[in-house]
């Protein structure tokens, strides 16, 4: 990337990125296209938007998508019930419709006087048609409000980051307009960097033992939910707080509950990979 014509994302101090990801971000900013981010849970999809906002010193607007979210809500909501209520009891002038139009997150991002970072989080949670309903607005970066005969046009095109867990296939027409990046699960080297961001003073011996145990656990395919980055961070926090000696980490896996969140996974692991001696569990799976 050697283009000086636009803001360049270089990562931020609290978020470790790979070069391909940084490139994808910069391409999306340069072309003014939404960046679609996919990846396993816990690979920092949502945090990316925070990091972009922080790194480029821009305001972040977050639109959390739920299964009931409608595309229209992102543009604006016409609060008809309030107006209806005011028409009966209120002392407001109900003929002024403008005061009942509330801009949604997308609308706010368009109307903002300076460029913002817009995070559309977990877009796949919504109805199958949801992304298609936003196509036109994301293409033209404007929308029309018939109630007030107004058109909201983006003053500065927002830097749009969209995350998805790929629970549903996103429509092709939508995908064609996006820049796509799949965040791989970090390898041990990158993970080391990530952990060091959270625990700058961590001892090498502890970090390496913890990572070794963590990646061996991830190799067990029978788990319903494999431990991810956030679980690792929690676990290391627990290990440090508990003052666990590093040589005990892979033999006993203390605080295993922070890594395996599902009861079935926990049971599976304890039954198949651990031997109980006295009151302590020892792993049988050391390779």
């Amino acid at each position: 990337m050697n283009n000086d014509g636009f803001d360049q994302f270089k990562g931020s101090s609290d978020y470790v990125t790979s070069e391909p990801l940084r490139n994808a971000v910069n391409v999306s900013i340069a072309l003014g296209r939404p960046l679609l981010i996919r990846g396993e849970p816990g690979t920092g999809k949502t945090l990316l938007a925070h990091s972009i906002a922080h790194g480029l010193r821009k305001k972040l607007i977050i639109w959390n998508i739920k299964s009931t979210t409608k595309a229209q809500e992102g543009l604006y909501v016409y609060d008809t019930v309030q107006r209806l209520n005011d028409s009966r009891f209120g002392d407001r002038d109900v003929s002024d419709i403008k005061q009942y139009i509330k801009l949604g997150k997308l609308g706010q991002a368009f109307a903002s006087p300076e460029q913002v970072v817009l995070l559309i989080d977990e877009i796949d949670k919504a109805d199958i048609e949801f992304p298609n309903d936003l196509l036109n607005e994301l293409d033209e970066m404007s929308f029309y409000i018939p109630e007030t005969n107004e058109t909201i046009t983006a003053i500065h095109w927002p830097i749009a980051v969209i995350t998805s867990n790929a629970e549903k296939e996103l429509p092709d027409a939508f995908l064609r307009r996006c820049i796509f990046h799949y965040i791989e699960f970090p390898d041990a080297n990158l993970m080391e960097e990530i952990v060091r961001v959270h625990f700058p003073d961590i001892k090498n011996s502890l970090l390496h033992e913890a990572l070794k145990a963590f990646y061996s656990l991830r190799e067990i395919d029978e788990f319903r939910k494999k431990p991810s980055t956030s679980e690792l961070i929690d676990w290391i926090r627990a290990l440090i707080a508990g003052g666990v000696a590093h040589e005990k980490i892979s033999s006993e896996i203390p605080f295993i509950g922070t890594l395996l969140k599902k009861e079935t996974d926990y049971d599976y692991f304890v039954n198949n990979h651990m031997t109980r001696i006295g009151d302590t569990f020892f792993t049988r799976w050391r390779r």
């Binding site: 070069e19 209806l84 009966r88 790929a166 092709d172």
Partner: protein, 394 residues
């Protein structure tokens, strides 16, 4: 423009390798190239991937195509500028060993670059078309790890991963949707099994209607309710277990757990059989709890979506003959094929998922069963097609 034309073949290489690239995306890539977003092949690799490929399932196809197209490409000149930049930084020089420092001090930059490029070329030739002028782990042109672009980390943290090398690693092979399945992916595929309809109690506020009614009521608020939309799909899963299905046990259990934990079906029923369906089906894998197939057909509504899983591979008599059941004590009065026929006639929508590779489907019983049920391979793609077949309106 010449630069841009050069890439058009790449577009067709991608299409040939089944990466679903559209012209829209291609134009976007051209726009990005015109803006000068890239300076070397590594960046091109990621730039083109970010713009052209929209699912990790196609990353592997992309890698294959990229490899094919760029195999003969040699080190672009831009790299020397980067090396120059890098060498200018005093901190970077400190990471070199003493020997390298000494070598560096003996040459001026020009010389160094020339030497560098020369040796890179040698390397390319020696390594028989490898063309990986940034090698990782060992093959340094200077005989020292530090000098090599991999060692000196040109371009930040790229760790010297040359684009073609990355492509050749094909790390995304496991993400190909025609190869692997896991519970989550199966669940996604099964999500396609939905037919939304308004059923159940009227428990959802219908805002539009409420406003209309209230307006008609001269502003006196009148609440209107509607039924909420729910998935009406019911699923019946019949699975072949044991014997020749043993190698697919994990795959089948993944399919089962995906279907079982998919909460969006109105109803989910499952039974097991061995080899072929005869007079009885079983509620457990050990085949202890039997339920008569006849009873099942009498009690289950025909609108259950039927998924049969099995390799459909058996001796012809096991399918065609009375008493043909592989288990001698089963003593089936009715041949398996008749049962299968009754089943396919009873249910309006049914599919057969075969875990075997289609290349070995030409087998008498597989063919016969394939005539009764639309047969799909038990992969993500096959499952997707099967799901589409199941929700077709009849």
């Amino acid at each position: 423009m010449a630069k841009i034309d050069m890439f058009t073949d790449f577009f067709y290489t991608l299409r040939k390798r089944k990466v679903p690239v559209s012209t829209t995306e291609w134009m976007t890539l051209m726009e990005a190239l015109a803006k000068g977003c890239i300076s070397n092949l590594d960046e091109f690799y990621y730039l083109a991937r970010a713009i052209l490929v929209k699912s990790e399932a196609y990353y592997d196809h992309y890698d294959v195509a990229f490899q094919e197209y760029f195999k003969g490409i040699e080190a672009p000149a831009e790299i020397s500028e980067q090396i120059l930049e890098w060498l200018k930084g005093p901190l970077n020089r400190m990471t070199l060993t003493e020997e390298e420092q000494a070598l560096l001090d003996r040459m001026d930059f020009e010389e160094l670059i020339k030497e560098f490029e020369k040796r890179l070329k040698e390397q390319t030739e020696q390594h028989n078309g490898g063309g990986y002028w940034i090698g990782r782990g060992g093959t340094s042109p200077f005989g020292h790890s530090g000098y090599h672009p991999a060692g000196i980390r040109i371009g930040g943290e790229s760790r010297g991963r040359h684009a073609i090398q990355i492509a050749q690693e094909r790390r995304f092979r496991n993400y190909r949707s025609d190869l692997t399945l896991d519970v989550r992916q199966i669940k996604m595929a099964l999500r396609g099994l939905r037919e939304l309809s308004r059923i159940g109690p009227e428990d959802e506020l219908d805002l539009e209607e409420t406003i209309d009614a209230t307006a008609k009521n001269a502003g006196e608020i009148e609440l209107m309710w509607t039924r909420s939309r729910k998935n009406a799909v019911k699923v019946l899963l019949l699975m072949d277990v044991g014997g020749s299905m043993e190698p697919f046990a994990l795959l089948c259990s993944q399919l089962f757990s995906a279907a079982h934990s998919s909460s969006h079906f109105k109803d989910f029923q499952y039974f097991y059989f061995h080899n072929c369906i005869y007079d009885n089906l079983y509620q457990d894998i050990e085949r202890q709890e039997a339920i008569s197939t006849d009873y099942l057909l009498r009690t289950m509504e025909p609108d259950y979506k039927l998924l049969l899983v099995g390799d459909a591979r058996m001796s012809p008599w096991e399918l065609m003959e009375r008493y043909g059941a592989i288990n001698y004590y089963e003593r089936n009065e009715t041949p398996g094929i008749v049962w299968l026929k009754r089943i396919t006639e009873h249910f309006t929508h049914s599919v057969w998922l075969n875990p075997d590779n289609p290349s070995i489907w030409p087998h008498p019983t597989v063919q016969m069963i394939g005539k009764l049920f639309p047969m799909f391979e038990l992969t993500l793609d096959g499952l997707g097609q099967a799901v589409k077949k199941l929700i077709v309106k009849k």
